[in-house]
Each structure stands twice: as structure tokens, then as C-alpha cells.
């Protein structure tokens, strides 16, 4: 055969020769096939004749069952060691459906021995729908000693039913941490697909639960631990006889949070019956001190599969307790946007701190009247006054001078319009409007008139309470920005090694210190002599703050917003951002109270209680009272 001429005799080819070549090839292939089958036969012979006794022993006399040992899930503690999630052992009554013929009849009969409520049945049938084939499913949890004894006597009547001691997850703080710590739930098909894709299936053999939301979900790989293996000898009926070898499981790591359970509780109580969210951050570390979304729900309901009735209640409630408002709810920032506008003005040279404008009570742009909240206006207003009295006209004009793209570019540095990257999932990005954003979203160009209301934090502007808190923390910390994180460190419980989460700053914003100083002084002024002064009277520490009110429903030209006349769900949201102490901030926060009207009225008093507790250790006697005030937007 020549080098390149692969098929010999192209010129002289005749079909006979070709067929001859082909048959040689086929013969080679047949030899190959016979070799492969011979190899298989040899392997079968080896296994079934030579090693037959060995495998027979394994299979028949000493049937070894490899049993996974599920590790203990790591516990979750607040910064002072208060338990937020832990495990306890309890007895459950479990049914293996594949071993039972008439499930309903069996459960009916079981109910004569152990109490089984209709709720238990509903939950069981929901589990049955979601379950894998051969696992046993709990029909009752937390059996009493008496019930165990009663079942033990009647056990022979119930093949396929057994009592097991199982670790249970419990959230002792109930709904207080429902939106942060989250909850676990039984592994479903979607979780299985994900585990398979991540190559984690073998570590989850035997595990029935997995983190579904919050920290339980985002720190799953730390919390779960490593599954152990036990080789157990079973008799021909499959019952364990003795343990042959055992690789112990490695417990999951504990999480120690930055959150303060007491502070969280105070926030929760401060809200009273109102809906809303509060996020408090230590500006020097980015550690999240309080993270509240109200209303919450009891995460313990979810641990063993929530029963359909509770589920429906949670989902149809008009208060939407399942929504994590702090993380995924977005609100117009209202006047809490103004400090960043002021910083942008200084940075782009559009205003000096001393420069004043005259506020007649409105700003006219293209025939449209943008009204100030104060009828008749604030008169001569400089930057300090503009923040202290929250003058809208000042910021209407400023927004017009800056232009939407400058505003957008500047405030983006503070994290507006992008995810903060906090260590739980489900964060919203919010909306930071710009010309490009509007083109992308609505395929429309930006109108200059739309910029005006952006100046006072209305218009398309929409951010999460977490973003607002992270921005004010960054401002308080002189532009040194941290990624907010709920977990302080992960603790390996065998080596006691601590892995700290996010100890380093993310970035430092390029804003001149003197500009920051101007705005920070004005924010102190807000709480001393401005819209926040009533709420912070006699505080005993200096704080900085800014009130805000976010419109829920647009008000028609020439109409005035009157709280009493508006439907409750259409009332404005009250907002407040703050940090303290003013000279060396240890805590920064943002609070949104839904449909509560002016920020100074409903939101600032909540902030006051939080700061009072965190700085002075004062525990308030009752929920934050609304301040009946006519000023402060």
C-alpha cells in the first residue's frame, strides 16, 4: 500500500478485488467481536466459578448492606450565642408505602392506636406525591412515650410501619428569623437534579432534608456535613444483624451570625402590626445586625412539609408574609435619595455647599408644575437646609442640572440598581433608571421631564431596603464599602477552626472627604433640627438620618395628597435611613414601613428604638408610636 493512496488499485479496481478486501476487514472485525465475547465469558467464569464462593458468601450468608449515616446538620447562632436553628431527636411513626397494599385502610387502623389528625393525613399524602420510591415517610412526628408504648404492643398488626428516632430541625425563634435563617424541607425532584449536576448525590444518600431558603439554603454545603458509611450484616429478611465497619459521619459546620437576636426582636416589636422591612448594618465590617421583613411566618411549619391548608393561608394572605421585603421588595427611596443627589452635585461641580436657590413652593418644567411638599416654599435654601428640611424644589432643579445619566452613574457606586451580593439568595436588583435602561426596558427615549422627579427619589427609582441600608452604611463609613453579610464566621465543630466571611472591604468610593463631610453634617442636622428631630429628641447620642416618603399611587396634577382620604393600601410608604454615633458610626440602617405615610411619623421612631438599644442597651416598653406630625417628608 502506498502512503497516500489508501484504497489500492483505484485505476484497476474491480469489484471482485474490492469485495475480497472488504471481507478481510469484516473477518478482522469478527475476530474482534469474538475476542470481546471471550473476554466477557472469561469474566463471567471468573466471577461465577472461580470467585463464586466469595460472592455467594457476600450475597447469601453475610449479606452486607451499606447504610449511610446522616451527619448532624450544623446549628445557627446569633452573635451572642443565641440559638436560631438547632436539631433535636424525636420519635416518628413512619410508613414505607411500597410495603403496604391498602394505604388508606392501614392509616385508618393506625389512627385507632395513635392519634392521627386530618392535618397529618393531608401532609402525608403531599409527601407521598413528592417522594422517591422506597423511602419511608413520616405520618406522625414527635410521638409521646405513651403513644410509643401503645404502638409497640400493636406492632405486629402493622407491617411496613415503624418507629424511628430522627433528628428534627427546629427554629426556636419562630417567625423572628423566617426571612434570614430560612428553613429546610424535604428533598424534592428539583433538588435531586441539582445535587446530581453538582456531583453531590452520594453525600446526600440517606439525607431527607435540604436547605430551601435563606441561610439554610445559601450555606447548605457548610451546614450539611459529610455522610458516614456503615457496613451492616443483614439476615436473609434484610434485617440488620451486626455492624461490620463504620466510617463516622462528619457533622456540618455551625454558622455564627452578625445578627443580634435581641435587636431583631426589638425591631420586630417596634413595627407593631405594620408591614415593612428594616436592615441594620455595621458600617465598619458590612456585618448585618438586624434583618427584618414583616410580616414573617413560622419556618417550623415547613420542616416536614407544610400542610396544604397553612400553605394556602400563607400564600393568599394580602399581607404576603412569604415575600422577603428586605431582600426582594423594591420601593421608591423618596427623600432618602437626596443625600446621594447632594454628593453628586458637589462631585460634578453643579452646586457648592453655600450656593442657595429660591424655593417658591414649586418648580416649573415644560409647563408641568412639580410641587414642593410645603405650600409657599422654603424660601432661600442652601445645601444644608435642603437636606434638613427636605426641600423638594432644590432637588427638582438639581436633577435637571445634573441630567439623568450623571445621577445614574454617580449613585450606582453606592450599589443602587445592582445586587449587593449578600449571602442569601433571591435578591432583587431594583431599578436604577438611565437613558440606556429606559431604551432597553420600554424601547423609548428618555424625556428630560422624567429626570425631575428622580431628584426626590420618585419616578422609576426603586430599590430594596437592603440596598438603601448598604448605601447609607457606605456613606457613614466615608465611602469604604463592604459586601453586606449575615454570617460572621463558619465554625468547624471538630477542629474549632473559624472561617470568616467577607472580612475585607469591597471597594472605596472615589468621593472627596470634604464633600462627604458636608452631607454628613446635614444628616446630623436632620435629626437635631430637621424632619427627624422629633423622633430623636433627647437621644443622648448624636445620630444622622434622613426621612423619606415614597408615593404608592400617583397624585393628579393640582390635587393634594390627604392621608385620611386614601385607601390604606394606597397610602405612601414611610422611609428612614440613619446611622450613629455620628462621629464614629457603629450602626447604619434603613427602614421602610409600608402604607404608613410620612417617614418622620412612622419610620423614624422605629429607627430610634433600634439605635437606643444598640448604643445604650435600652429596651423599649412598647412598639414605636407614630409621631403625629404635620412636617417632614
Amino acid at each position: 500500500m502506498s502512503d497516500l493512496n489508501i484504497n489500492p488499485g483505484v485505476e484497476f479496481r474491480n469489484s471482485q478485488l474490492e469485495l475480497h478486501h472488504f471481507r478481510w476487514r469484516l473477518a478482522a472485525a469478527v475476530i474482534f467481536v469474538l475476542l470481546m465475547f471471550a473476554l466477557l465469558f472469561v469474566r463471567f467464569f471468573y466471577l461465577q466459578v472461580v470467585k463464586r464462593d466469595y460472592y455467594h458468601t457476600l450475597a447469601e450468608a453475610n449479606r452486607i448492606s451499606i447504610v449511610p449515616i446522616v451527619p448532624n446538620r450544623g446549628i445557627i447562632l446569633d452573635r451572642n450565642g443565641v440559638v436560631l436553628a438547632h436539631n433535636y431527636s424525636a420519635y416518628t411513626l413512619e410508613i414505607t408505602p411500597s410495603k403496604v397494599e391498602h394505604l388508606d385502610a392501614l392509616i385508618d387502623e393506625l389512627a385507632t392506636v395513635v392519634e392521627i389528625t386530618p392535618k397529618d393525613r393531608r401532609r402525608f399524602s403531599k409527601l407521598l406525591e413528592e417522594s422517591r420510591n422506597f423511602e419511608s415517610l413520616p405520618i406522625r412526628t414527635r410521638l409521646s412515650d405513651e403513644e410509643i408504648a401503645r404502638f409497640a404492643v400493636n406492632r405486629y398488626r402493622f407491617p411496613g410501619v415503624e418507629i424511628n428516632a430522627r433528628p428534627f430541625r427546629q427554629y426556636p425563634q419562630n417567625e423572628l428569623f423566617s426571612h434570614v435563617v430560612g428553613h429546610i424541607g424535604r428533598i424534592n425532584q428539583r433538588d435531586l437534579d441539582k445535587l446530581e449536576a453538582d456531583g453531590l448525590m452520594s453525600n446526600y444518600r440517606g439525607t431527607a432534608y435540604i436547605g430551601k431558603t435563606g441561610l439554610e439554603h445559601s450555606y447548605e454545603r457548610y451546614l450539611h456535613g459529610t455522610t458516614g458509611v456503615e457496613q451492616v450484616e443483614v439476615d436473609s429478611g434484610g434485617r440488620p444483624v451486626r455492624t461490620l465497619s463504620r466510617t463516622p459521619p462528619v457533622s456540618g459546620n455551625n454558622l455564627v451570625l452578625n445578627l443580634d437576636a435581641k435587636l431583631q426582636e426589638i425591631v420586630y416589636r417596634a413595627f407593631g402590626n405594620r408591614r415593612g422591612a428594616l436592615v441594620a448594618i455595621d458600617p465598619t465590617t458590612g456585618g448585618v445586625l438586624a434583618f427584618v421583613s414583616k410580616p414573617g411566618f413560622d419556618p417550623n411549619l415547613f420542616v416536614d412539609g407544610i400542610d396544604p391548608q397553612n400553605w394556602a393561608e400563607l400564600n393568599t394572605s394580602p399581607d404576603r408574609p412569604m415575600v422577603n421585603r428586605a431582600l426582594a421588595g423594591t420601593y421608591p427611596p423618596g427623600s432618602t435619595f437626596k443625600p446621594y443627589m447632594a454628593l453628586a452635585a458637589l462631585t460634578y461641580g453643579k452646586r457648592t455647599p453655600q450656593q442657595t436657590i429660591f424655593d417658591p413652593g414649586y418648580f416649573n418644567f415644560g409647563g408641568h408644575m412639580f410641587r414642593d411638599d410645603k405650600v409657599g416654599g422654603h424660601g432661600q435654601v442652601d445645601m444644608y437646609k435642603s437636606l434638613v428640611v427636605s426641600c423638594d424644589t432644590y432637588y427638582y432643579m438639581l436633577a435637571n442640572d445634573l441630567g439623568i445619566d450623571n445621577i445614574s452613574r454617580f449613585v450606582a457606586q453606592f450599589g443602587f440598581g445592582s445586587r449587593t451580593g449578600i449571602d442569601i439568595n433571591g435578591e432583587s436588583t431594583g431599578i436604577l433608571p438611565s437613558q440606556e435602561w429606559k431604551m432597553r426596558r420600554f424601547r423609548q427615549k428618555w424625556y428630560a421631564g422624567e429626570t425631575i422627579s428622580i431628584g426626590i427619589g420618585q419616578g422609576y427609582n426603586s430599590y430594596t431596603p437592603l440596598q438603601l441600608a448598604s448605601a447609607i452604611a457606605t456613606l457613614a463609613n466615608d465611602g469604604k464599602m463592604f459586601r453586606p453579610h449575615i454570617v460572621d464566621y463558619v465554625e468547624n465543630i471538630t477542629t474549632h477552626e473559624h472561617t470568616t466571611i467577607e472580612p475585607k472591604p469591597l471597594r472605596t468610593l472615589n468621593i472627596k472627604p470634604e464633600y462627604l463631610e458636608v452631607v454628613k453634617q446635614a444628616l446630623v442636622g436632620v435629626n437635631q433640627e430637621g424632619t427627624g428631630a422629633r423622633a430623636f429628641a433627647g437621644a443622648g447620642y448624636t445620630s444622622a438620618g434622613k426621612t423619606g416618603t415614597a408615593q404608592v399611587v400617583g397624585i393628579k396634577q393640582g390635587e393634594k395628597y390627604v392621608e385620611g382620604r386614601t385607601q390604606e393600601r394606597h397610602r405612601d410608604h414611610a422611609l428612614f435611613i440613619a446611622y450613629a454615633p455620628a462621629d464614629k458610626p457603629r450602626i447604619a440602617l434603613a427602614v421602610v414601613v409600608e402604607n404608613a405615610g410620612f417617614g418622620a411619623q412612622a419610620a423614624a421612631p422605629i429607627a430610634r428604638q433600634v439605635l437606643d438599644y444598640y448604643l445604650l442597651g435600652k429596651v423599649p416598653a412598647e412598639p414605636a408610636k407614630e409621631i403625629d406630625s404635620d412636617s417632614g417628608n
Binding site: L4, H21, F37, L40, D193, N203, V229
Partner: protein, 367 residues
Amino acid sequence: MTPAIRRVTRFFTAHIDGLLLGAILLLMAAGLIVLYSASNASLPRVSTQLMNMLVALAVMWVFANIPPHYLTRLALPLFVLGLVLLIAVALFGDVANGARRWLNIGVTRIQPSELMKIALPLMLAWYFDRYEATLRLKNYLIAVIFVVVPVGLIARQPDLGTAALIFSSGCYVLFLAGLSWRIIAGVTVAGLTSLPFLWSVMHDYQRQRILTLLDPAQDPLGTGYHTIQSTIAVGSGGIFGKGWLNGTQTHLDFIPERTTDFIFAVYSEEFGLIGNSILLFLFLLVIARGVVITANAPTLFTRLMAGAVTLTFVTYAFVNMGMVSGILPVVGVPLPLISYGGTSLVTICLGFGILMSIQTHKKLVQT
């Protein structure tokens, strides 16, 4: 027999190869018997599989009646369609078990790699047949591209098992079409030397399966579990087996996927070395008939096609039995004609239909 009945009989049997059909039916019967045991005597399972088999046999009959030269016309469009579907899967396929293998076409989900199992050898056979008179190195290189593109797409899904099977079916055609021994030797050497590279681009789970093959005890809860348990099942079967419905490994839930990919473990445990030898013999019977049909096929196209179908069948059987008995890594390959499941059954019987068509249309072509 009246002439009418004779005509009807003739209509159904004219293009059926009796020997091949006999061997196939025996294997299918064995499949149903072992499935009954593997499914814990579940008659619904067995009757579903029986339906699958009837559908597969109908497909086989249809293809047996299509003269081979019609198939040559189908080759290019079918191949292009397969490629388009594979690209569509890569772009908008559904993810299941961490791999993107399925394409949702509204009514149902399809797995285009299944189509490729037939389309690729068909394409190659057609291509070589077309340039038969002037085959040069260039043609082989182009053929290699025809192999590599779909195989690459399937391997990326990732579905390494199917990719390897389709790759091997392409290689069979190249080999039978007369690729020079020197090149085969060269590529083999190059392939062996590139193994370390291949190792570095493999997915973790793929590496794990190979490591587990070398030492199943390393991962007793994960992929090693399958191998350990199926090897015990095979070995404990001994010479005579534990008897039908008496496999302890099977009936105590030790064998995973015991009606599909690992059904051979059940068979082996219950029927022993004797049963295995009978099964190997039945497989060899099918293969032998395939080889005879291949050797006597009239044109290059039919020879290549028949050869590819036969050798691919060998590969399926070998890979599955090798995997169950612990000499090959665990890949998702069913045991042809035995494992539960309709898709691969239809594909395989379609191949046999083509074999029968080649055998029974021969005389027409030669005259």
C-alpha cells in the same frame, strides 16, 4: 391455503429474514422473563414492555420493506436534521439530571442523539458509496468530520456513553470502508498518548466513574455502589444461578436500575453461568447472521450499513455486560433487546429492519 391467505402471508414475510427474526424473538422473550422478575412480578411493567416490543417489531417490518436505495436518499437529510436537532438541544434543550439531552417540541420531548445512532452510519455509508470510484485520503478526512461534529455535540451535553457508542459506529464504517492500517495504528498511538489530556478535560463525575472502576470500594455510596452490588449479583449466581424469581440481590433492593441498565445483573444472578452462556450464544447468533448479511451485501453502501448496524449491536451488548460485570465504567447503555424501555428498542429494531431489507432486496439490485 387459499391464494388470498398466501398473498397476505407473503406481504408480511417477503422481506423478513427468518433466522434473524428468530434470534431476536428469543432474546426478547428472555428479556420479558427476566423483566418479570426484576420488576418484582409487575405485570403492568411487562405488558408495557411487550407493547414496546410490538412497536419496535412494526418499525423493523417497515424498514425491512424499504429498499436500500431509498435509504441512500434519506441519508443526507436525516443527518442534517440530526445535526440541527443536536444544535437546538445545545441551545434550548431541557436539562434533566444535570445534562442537556432532551428537546421539547411542544407535544413531546425527543432525544436527538437517538436519531444520530442511525443517521451517522447511514450518512457515512452513503458518502463512501457515492465517492466509491475515487476514494482518496481527503474523503476519509471529510468522513472523520462527519463523525466528530455530532459526537462532540453529544459529548458536550454531557452524555459520554452515547457519544462513545456513536463514535464507535462511525469508526466501524471508516474501518470497513478501507481506512489504511497505518492510519489506524497512528491514530491509536496518538489516542493513547492523549489520554492524560482527555483526563484533564473530563467532568468530575466521569473521572469518578473511572476511578471507581479501578477501586469500587472508594465510593461505596455513589457510583461504586452500582458496580459492587452488580458484581456480587453476577458472582453469587454461580454456575446454575439461584433460579427465576429467587435472586436475593435483586429482591432485596440491592441492585439499582434493575429493570433498565442493570437488568443483566438480575439475569446473571438468577440464571448463572449457563444462562449467561446461552445469552452470549443468542447475541452471537444475531451477530453471525448480521455478518453473513454484511458479507453478501451487493453494494458498498449496503455492506457498510449492514456492517455498522451489526457491529454497533455488538458494542451495546458488550458495553452493557462489561459494565454490569465490573470491567467497564458505569455508562448509561441498556442491554439491547433485554432492558426495559422503548426508545433504544425501537432504534435497535430499526437497524435490524435495515439489515433485513439489505438481505431481501439483494436479488432485485443485482439483476
